[in-house]
């Protein structure tokens, strides 16, 4: 039940160990790690964010996940600053008695984060830098969670 916005790297294995220690009712833990993908000639990627709003947005997204699924633990970590290909960008952990809830909540957190959390990616390439355009597939992915 926490969110972190940080420049430093993270270790989801250690986070899972910490989150689940002594909790014997859990049963299912899902992690998602998003990394800087080198789509060809990427030198680095810089993540800008909106301090204050970022934390608020992530907390709202996490609260919504907790409202929808029976989670025993959850964690969202998002990095900002300059990252290299292969570096971790975002980490999500969900733990629940039921695997389906853990899977769905983790995917929900990522889909919402991709459309709600105020982060912007700038790609630095040998021939210059440019802002990554919003992927329409992310908006579509988010829409599947709309409550009817």
């Amino acid at each position: 039940m926490s969110v972190r916005v940080q420049e430093d790297d993270f270790d989801l294995g250690a986070e899972v160990a910490r989150l689940t220690a002594g909790k014997h009712q859990i049963g299912a833990i899902v992690t998602f790690t998003g990394t800087v993908r080198d789509t060809g000639g990427l030198k680095s990627m810089t993540l800008e964010h909106y301090p204050g709003m970022t934390e608020t947005a992530l907390e709202k997204i996490e609260a919504e996940a907790l409202r929808r699924w029976p989670l025993a633990a959850s964690l969202v970590i998002h990095r900002f600053g300059t990252l290299l290909p292969g570096d971790n960008i975002v980490g999500v952990v969900t733990a629940s008695p039921h695997r389906r809830a853990a899977f769905e909540a983790a995917e929900f957190l990522m889909d919402y984060l991709k459309t709600e959390a105020p982060f912007w990616k700038r790609e630095e390439r040998p021939d210059g830098a440019g802002w990554v355009e919003h992927n329409q597939a992310d908006t579509i992915a988010r829409e599947k969670w709309a409550e009817r």
Binding site: G34, L47, Y50, L113, K114, T115, P118, F119, W120, E133
Partner: protein, 102 residues
């Protein structure tokens, strides 16, 4: 800018011309050339859409930043809002492209 506060008498409202704290991110920030500033729009600017329309008259940098108004998102006090949203008293207004984190 006049903030509509029904509970206050009319003589009070007239004095409440407010300064808005503006924040810009990503290419909106780059085009405007700064990350934040404080501006005092005229009294008839009460919504995000009206604020954008007014900003576009304030210089080439704003014109460039808001040229593709459809692709710009806004937040008031750190919450995503639609262009029709009213800007409250002492609001922090942010403009940015669609988010691309994660």
């Amino acid at each position: 800018m006049i903030i509509s506060r029904p509970e206050l008498p009319n003589w009070w409202k007239k004095d409440e011309t407010l300064t808005i704290k503006l924040k810009y991110f990503a290419w909106v920030r780059e085009r405007i050339g700064r990350g934040e500033e404080s501006l005092t729009p005229p009294d008839d600017v009460t919504t995000i859409a009206e604020l954008i329309a007014w900003l576009k008259t304030q210089g080439a940098e704003y014109e460039a930043a808001f040229a593709e108004a459809d692709t710009i998102r806004a937040a008031i006090d750190m919450t995503h809002v639609e262009p029709s949203a009213n800007i409250g008293a002492n609001a922090e207004v942010a403009f940015f492209p669609p988010v691309t984190g994660g």
